[in-house]
């Protein structure tokens, strides 16, 4: 049934055949008409196109800000986004999709809409775009004056992409790895990679009609102590897979680890490595941008402390350099943020970022070292994946997750081994305590080993899973590095 997974651009025939099933999975699917979609996109003014805005920001060295937001009812969603644009000064807006839709449970999403109407408040954690269908979703794009992106966490986002792209959204988050392993339990990678090839191919079709849809990969993964080499490798691989299907604008991401030097090194190597790998694969014409996520792990409950975490994320982005920042809110530890909380996060971030404009971290040895380490590690991992793929990157990904050559810590999915154990070093940089099947060289391993040992000595305890748990709780308790209890 499933087409054998390969990293090769889909034949039109295959794509068309599959489309039929996708568009009939839920009644709103029939509302999708490509010719009409292209026409709608062509009328969208330049200032509302993600690709154009990203590319001019890229050239001017601007850092854009974007919140997360989505509620069950369209009318409320429109009000919410308008506030974030006007009061929060967001450069990019989101439409965050609810969790039922993410699992293709459209009936439950429908129930959520109904119950929300009755309750007079959103019972869903996002906007159920599929249930609303093309015409309703277009209202969002029409009402805003900046680009709006679809943000979700959907292993099978084919129908969601069809509907939202047809509705004029020009920016779509996700990838076959980053929207599966952290967001699902049972879905095999063959399946999600295949479904995301569909999404990428769809964007390719748009691109062939001169409508460039930006595709953003979800860099943070589980948001919990993911070492940069792992998320970089995943992001770059997803970028290569997307480019193969004809995607022309790609954003790859990284989230704030908390150590300034590591974060700066990670941001700089992400842009450099991503560019190099795309160029080498013949995709020099693809625009590659980077996105930095403010702290993605457990937040402190206290709102003033949360603002501190947010501001430090803003500073790290400015010092490190990125093309866009995804902004958190002071409600993070508590629940889906109110518009006001979201605006607070945006303005705090904006203030810090513009105060730091023109102040990138100057060159220094510590940074060079960290950059070199990340670059070597990413090369080692991607080489490992390629070897297992025997010439095919997609196949390589599947086999690598089986072998632990790719592995994501703290994930809900049974399709990653979860053998890596990350832990912070004394300065808070994320290091690897157990490597599982990661194909890192002796030299690379040694570096981690030494740094973790230093911390163990200074805390007078053997580095162990206890230390890791302390690190997970740390930010919530007001620190970066978990203290022994």
């Amino acid at each position: 049934m499933e087409q054998k997974l390969q990293n090769r651009r889909w034949d039109d025939s295959l794509f068309v055949a599959e489309r039929g099933a996708v568009l009939t999975a839920w009644p709103t699917g029939v509302g999708v008409d490509l010719a009409d979609a292209f026409a709608f996109h062509r009328k969208i003014p330049e200032s509302k196109r993600a690709h154009g805005k990203l590319s001019s920001g890229y050239e001017q060295g601007r850092i854009y800000l974007q919140p997360r937001a989505g509620v069950a009812l369209l009318s409320e969603h429109l009000v919410l986004l308008a506030k974030l644009e006007l009061e929060g000064l967001a450069d990019f807006l989101p439409t965050t999709i609810d969790s039922y839709t993410r699992q293709n449970r459209y009936e439950e999403a429908q129930k959520g809409i109904e119950e929300s109407k009755l309750a007079g408040r959103s019972l869903l954690n996002g906007f159920p775009a599929v249930n609303y269908g093309v015409a309703n979703c277009r209202k969002i794009v029409e009402a805003m004056s900046v680009p709006v992106q679809v943000r979700h966490g959907t292993p099978d986002a084919r129908l969601l992409a069809e509907i939202t792209l047809a509705a004029g959204f020009g920016d779509f988050e996700g990838g076959g790895i980053s929207y599966n392993i952290p967001y699902a339990r049972d879905i095999p990678l063959e399946v999600s990679l295949n479904h995301w090839q569909y999404v990428d191919r769809l964007c390719g079709v748009y691109a062939e009609n001169e409508i460039i849809v930006n595709r953003e990969m979800f860099g943070p993964l589980t948001g919990t102590l993911v070492p940069p080499c792992v998320s970089h490798a995943v992001g770059i691989i997803e970028a290569l897979l997307a480019a193969e299907q004809g995607v022309k604008s790609i954003t790859i991401g990284y989230w704030q680890g908390g150590n300034l030097i590591q974060d700066t090194a990670a941001l700089r190597t992400l842009a450099r490595l991503g560019r190099r790998y795309l160029d080498e694969a013949g995709f020099a014409d693809v625009l590659l941008t980077t996105v930095f996520h403010q702290w993605m792990g457990g937040f402190p409950q206290n709102e003033s402390r949360a603002m501190g975490v947010i501001a430090w994320g803003a500073a790290s982005a400015a010092l490190g350099g990125a093309n866009k920042v995804i902004v958190k809110t002071p409600h993070e530890a508590l629940g889906v943020p109110s518009a006001e909380a979201n605006i607070a996060g945006l303005l705090c971030t904006r203030q810090v970022m513009s105060m730091l404009e023109g102040q990138p971290l100057p060159p220094m040895e510590a940074l060079q070292e960290e950059e070199a380490v990340i670059e070597r590690e990413v090369d080692e991992i991607i080489t490992g994946v390629r070897e297992l793929g025997e010439g095919d990157l997609a196949r390589g990904v599947v086999r690598s997750f089986e072998a632990g050559v790719l592995d994501i810590p703290f994930a809900p999915s049974r399709w990653t081994r979860g053998d890596i154990i990350p832990v912070r070093d004394q300065k808070g940089a994320i290091r690897i305590l157990r490597f599982g099947g990661l194909p890192l060289s002796e030299e690379s391993r040694n570096f981690h080993h030494i740094r973790i040992k230093q911390r163990g000595e200074s805390e007078k305890r053997e580095p162990s899973f206890r230390m890791v748990i302390d690190d997970i709780y740390a930010i919530g308790k007001g620190r970066l590095v978990g203290k022994p209890r």
């Binding site: 969790s99 129930k111 959103s122 954690n125 699902a184 889906v336 943020p337």
Partner: protein, 142 residues
């Protein structure tokens, strides 16, 4: 001594937040409980079946992602139907969408039949102390 030290653990609904679940398993195990961890994305039926099968003393339901209000409704009724109506039902996490007062949330979930309801960021140790009490009480009244 506890009469029953088996706890069924899981994250309900379409929720994939896995970190807290892994930690709860570890801490409960360290505290001497036998944990049947169903992981994430657990349906009400899976909770009931596991509890019946293992004759567990308690079910710990996590809901982080906001849909708890929808997902958690009816579990107590299903317990009655399955003949484990008096099992200890705990629930914790970020139970509702958005920031609401905990009093309100606690009331909502108690009305649904949960015995104990925990606010965001509860440290496991606190609930484990309650669990020990609850399961010990039981043996006392036996």
């Amino acid at each position: 001594m506890l009469r029953n030290n088996r706890v069924v653990l899981g994250v309900i609904g379409a929720d994939v937040h896995a970190v807290g679940n892994k930690i709860l398993e570890m801490v409960l195990t360290e505290a001497g409980f036998e944990v049947i961890n169903l992981g994430v994305m657990v349906s009400q039926e899976e909770f009931i079946n596991a509890a019946v099968e293992s004759a567990a003393g308690a079910i710990w339901v996590s809901s982080l992602y906001g849909h708890g209000e929808i997902d958690c409704r009816g579990l107590r009724e299903k317990c009655y139907e399955a003949g484990i109506g008096d099992i200890h039902l705990y629930v914790g996490g970020n139970l509702v969408v958005g920031k609401r007062t905990f009093d309100e949330v606690e009331k909502l979930f108690k009305e649904m039949g949960y015995d104990r309801v925990y606010p965001p960021g509860t440290l496991p140790e606190e609930a484990i102390a309650h669990l020990k009490e609850d399961l010990a009480d039981e043996s006392a009244t036996d």
